[in-house]
């Protein structure tokens, strides 16, 4: 099988986000970048399918500036075979990302399975998986908790709001977007980390795909940091007094009741 895993490189969860000087993007200096955690489930799933069908090839795909090659290498160290880096600017939107990925994959070997995380933890948009599926005109199975594969089909359990589970079956090729719980991503062994340094990462530019930055639909205009959290307030008095005070605050100040 030809397995593709699309991943996004995101700031580490502990990063203190700052804005750049004209407030049009975040200040990326000093940020530690990681593979978005849901995408790690996607990589692991790709590798598990390869273990089931040993003839398979797993390609890690990531679109973005040069730094994303590090994320691709992380996937290669976990055991993927090769990498594909699509050059896109920092501020690319989901539409152009999905278009570029789908166009790039048309030039590659036939796609049997395409894994993504259910969302990236930086913007939390949960768009790209479906947009890729739409651009490629193949089924999208999102928020997947469990999957069983045959040569040409897949049966999945999908988490629906409220904890309900949907069981779906689809023919391949299909896009599968991983939810936490799908698997336990492995920790790359040292020999694999060493090997990953030598694996091929192919580079493709927008121009190679017959596209340009003007294909982007959403332009980012202005960023603002959330207001700093106000300090907590401690209520004093008897339980009855405190309850009364709390109700008063919730009603008059916060206006939720």
């Amino acid at each position: 099988m030809n397995i593709y895993v699309c991943i996004k490189q995101v700031p580490d969860t502990e990063t203190k986000i700052k804005l750049n000087s004209d407030q049009t993007w975040i200040d990326t200096s000093g940020i530690k970048w990681i593979v978005s955690p849901y995408d790690e489930f996607a990589i692991e799933e790709g590798l598990k399918v390869k273990a089931q069908f040993p003839e398979s090839k797993v390609t890690i795909v990531s679109a973005g500036p040069d730094r994303v090659v590090d994320a691709i290498r992380t996937g290669l160290a976990m055991g993927a075979d090769t990498g594909l880096h699509i050059e896109l600017p920092e501020t690319a939107d989901h539409f152009i990302t999905a278009q570029a990925i789908s166009k790039a994959l048309q030039k590659e070997e036939k796609v049997d399975l395409l894994f993504c995380g259910k969302e990236a933890i930086d913007d939390g948009a949960a768009q790209t998986a479906q947009l890729i599926a739409a651009a490629m005109d193949i089924p999208a199975l999102t928020v997947i908790l469990e999957a069983q594969y045959t040569e040409n089909s897949v049966q999945v359990k999908r988490e629906v709001e409220g904890g309900t589970i949907e069981v779906l079956e689809s023919s391949l090729p299909a896009v599968i977007a991983a939810q936490k719980g799908l698997n336990e991503p492995r920790y790359a062994s040292l020999p694999n980390i060493m090997k990953a340094k030598k694996k091929e990462v192919k580079k493709v530019s927008l121009a190679d795909l017959g596209m340009s930055e003007s294909d982007q639909k959403v332009k980012l205009k202005n960023f603002e940091l959330p207001a700093p959290k106000a300090a907590g307030r401690k209520l004093d008095g008897t339980p009855a007094e405190m309850a009364a005070e709390l109700v008063k605050i919730l009603h008059e100040e916060v206006k939720v009741i």
């Binding site: 580490d12 502990e14 990063t15 336990e184 492995r186 920790y187 062994s189 040292l190 020999p191």
Partner: protein, 662 residues
């Protein structure tokens, strides 16, 4: 000159020596075929002194008094009696030969001590049998090997006494008064009414019985735990000198290396093999192991014998150097649970009378599990990731590393104009920087430093985790990434002296960074505080009324031999310091070392609770600590025992800080 008897002896002894020789040669070749390397020939003078003290002097054996005295008696007796055995061999080979030529006085003195020790050894054997069969301490496993050895040692002594007694009865040699015990036995046997000829024949018979048992013993030794009589001496000589030791680095630049850590016994070194050969299965290590004592599957004694039997099972392949065919070191006996249970407290190594180093083996096996196989307790993965991205085992941003001292007069290295004027770099450590409880310790310590006019600065955001957790868990690669980055920073500021409140940072900076080009004078904060008190730079008032007990940190105590500085600090403040039942080098680990801080404790009882119970037994209302991880473990223990409101855990810096008036 030769007769039938000498010929017979020559054949039997020749066969026995050949048999034992072949076995010993195989043991030597087995050790030599190990792939790991180890250099242990430096500091010859110290090695010789240590060997004399501990082999002839039996120092380490005598750490345990009664059994130590029994062993020392048997050992010294063995040396003396072997001279006699040699004489028997020679006189059988060449009739008429004796050591009389050494001079009559000397010879009778020799005989007298031999006679005395024959009886003493016999008594010691009885004592040993009493201990093994009647007292049965839990750490001594009843094994046939040991009983067999005791039985035959006893028989050896009886045969010597009977040999001498009958010889005296038949020949009345001039030295009969030099063998007082044998002579009394001889008198006691007079009722047998033997003629001199028969008596002499019986004397000779018991000489043969003795010689045959000795030869049998010689053949038996190489395959038994009694091999320690040959291996323990060399093992004492090749021991790690001094208490401090660092883990051996792996050279990741070496492209020929394909295996990191120990997957098979042969990945260890000849010294490890010598360790197994030396093990007497005395159980002292197991008796003190916190993992074993809280019902974990790890027994350091069993670890050593499992490794030994693994090596023996793979003998054929190892001797042929067919390493592919050697089976894995992890099997159904030595499971990965065994390997993950260790807290690297080193109680086992301190207790071992023959200087076996258990931790080196455990931690090299972890390297294979982690780096080659990616097999480790799953909760550790997050710890690795945190260390990789944020250079701390906790999930905190590197940006927040200096937040603990935002409001304090604490300088960062990059703000100091002339770093050479500083007395110390204060290494904060991840616990000091991020753990809310430990931040307070660091705040207290910096207050003390300021009061004592000590000039210091911190690295601030430039500090990274020393890598200790990664290294103990087995991720040497990650450790080296962090270590080289830190060394680069420290050397950039030409740091010479470092003080830290974390024994783990202390140990790593002091004993392990040298391998990466980081050579500093590193001291623990309790050492600096003790110095400041002694030199009068700070004057605590000895005013603390509460009963207070100090818990020894393994990485300060057993790893670096520092027991007195923390106690000096404590005594300068507290009126009533008390010791727990286990303290100094016999202290019990809190359970956090060896990377266990970052793992769930799912097997057996909890180590920290067991240690907390020992603290509670003293009736102390404050437990003093010098380590952030001990502090966490004991605090958790107190919560479990529902004593969190009655007993406090405080770092010595806090205790001292509280006692200083402004």
């Amino acid at each position: 000159m030769f007769n039938f008897e000498s010929l017979l002896f020559l054949i039997i002894a020749g066969a026995a020596f050949t048999y034992a020789g072949i076995q010993l040669k195989n043991l030597f070749l087995l050790a030599k075929a190990h792939q790991g390397t180890e250099k242990r020939c430096d500091r010859l003078g110290e090695r010789i002194t240590l060997t004399v003290l501990n082999v002839l002097g039996q120092k380490a054996v005598l750490q345990k008094k009664w059994i130590g005295i029994l062993h020392a008696t048997i050992f010294w007796g063995f040396l003396l009696i072997t001279i006699g055995t040699l004489e028997q061999f020679l006189s059988t080979l060449i009739p008429g030969v004796s050591f009389e030529f050494l001079g009559k006085t000397f010879y009778s003195g020799l005989l007298w001590t031999q006679d005395l020790f024959t009886v003493l050894v016999f008594l010691a054997v009885l004592g040993g049998a009493y201990r093994r069969l009647i007292v049965k301490p839990a750490y001594v496993t009843l094994n046939k090997d040991a009983n067999f050895i005791l039985l035959f040692t006893g028989l050896l002594m009886i045969s010597i006494l009977l040999m001498n007694a009958f010889h005296i009865m038949g020949a009345h040699p001039w030295y009969e008064n030099s063998l007082p015990f044998s002579a009394s036995l001889s008198e006691g046997l007079l009722f047998l009414n033997l003629d001199p000829h028969t008596a002499l024949l019986l004397g000779k018979t018991f000489k043969w019985v003795h010689m045959l048992i000795v030869l049998g013993f010689g053949m038996y030794i190489p395959s038994s735990k009694h091999l320690h009589v040959l291996a323990a001496g060399p093992n004492t000589f090749f021991q790690t000198i001094g208490r401090s030791k660092g883990m051996k680095p792996i050279d990741f630049e070496d492209e020929t290396l394909e295996q990191y850590g120990t997957a098979k016994v042969t990945d260890l070194s000849w010294k490890d093999a010598l360790d197994y050969y030396s093990c007497t299965e005395c159980g002292r290590c197991q008796e003190v192991c916190p993992a074993w004592n809280t019902e974990k599957p790890l027994s350091p004694k069993k670890l050593i014998s499992d490794l030994k039997y693994n090596l023996f099972r793979n003998k054929e392949a190892v001797l042929k150097k067919d390493y592919e065919a050697v089976s894995d070191v992890i099997d159904h006996e030595l499971t990965s649970d065994v390997i993950w249970s260790c807290t690297s407290c080193r109680a086992c190594e301190i207790a071992c009378p023959v200087f076996i180093e258990h931790t080196d083996k455990i931690y090299d096996i972890r390297r294979d599990l982690v780096m080659m196989k990616s097999e480790f307790p799953s909760e550790v993965q997050t710890v690795f990731k945190n260390m990789e991205t944020n250079a701390t085992p906790w999930a905190f941003s590197a940006d927040d590393r200096d937040a603990w001292c935002e409001d304090l007069p604490v300088k960062k290295m990059n703000e100091v104009s002339s770093p050479e004027e500083l007395d110390y770099l204060l290494w904060v450590g991840c616990a000091g920087a991020y753990d809310d409880r430990n931040k307070k310790v660091l705040r207290s310590f910096t207050r003390i430093l300021n009061k004592a006019d000590v000039k210091f600065a911190i690295l601030g955001k430039e500090e990274q985790c020393t890598g200790d957790p990664a290294r103990r868990i087995g991720n040497e690669y990650l450790f080296q990434t962090l270590a080289t980055a830190n060394v680069e920073t420290l050397n950039r500021y030409s740091v010479k002296k470092v003080v830290t409140a974390c024994p783990h940072c202390f140990n790593t900076l002091k004993n392990e960074y040298g391998d990466f080009g980081g050579n500093y004078e590193v001291i623990h904060h309790t050492q600096l505080m003790a110095d400041l008190i002694q030199s009068g730079k700070i004057k605590p008032s000895q005013s603390l009324e509460q009963k207070i007990t100090y818990h020894d940190s393994c990485y300060l105590g057993r790893w670096n031999d520092e027991y007195s500085a923390p106690r000096k600090v404590l005594e300068s403040v507290a009126k009533k310091p008390v010791e727990m039942k286990a303290h100094h080098d016999q202290s019990m680990c809190c359970g956090a070392g060896g990377g266990r801080m970052w793992m769930e404790e799912t097997l057996g009882k909890r180590i920290n609770v067991t240690r907390t119970e020992q603290a509670l037994e003293t009736g102390a209302s404050v437990v003093a600590s010098g380590c952030p991880f001990c502090m966490t473990m004991i605090s958790d223990g107190l919560k479990t025992k529902d004593h969190q409101d009655t007993v406090l855990v405080k770092d010595l810096a806090e205790i001292l800080d509280d006692s200083l008036t402004d």
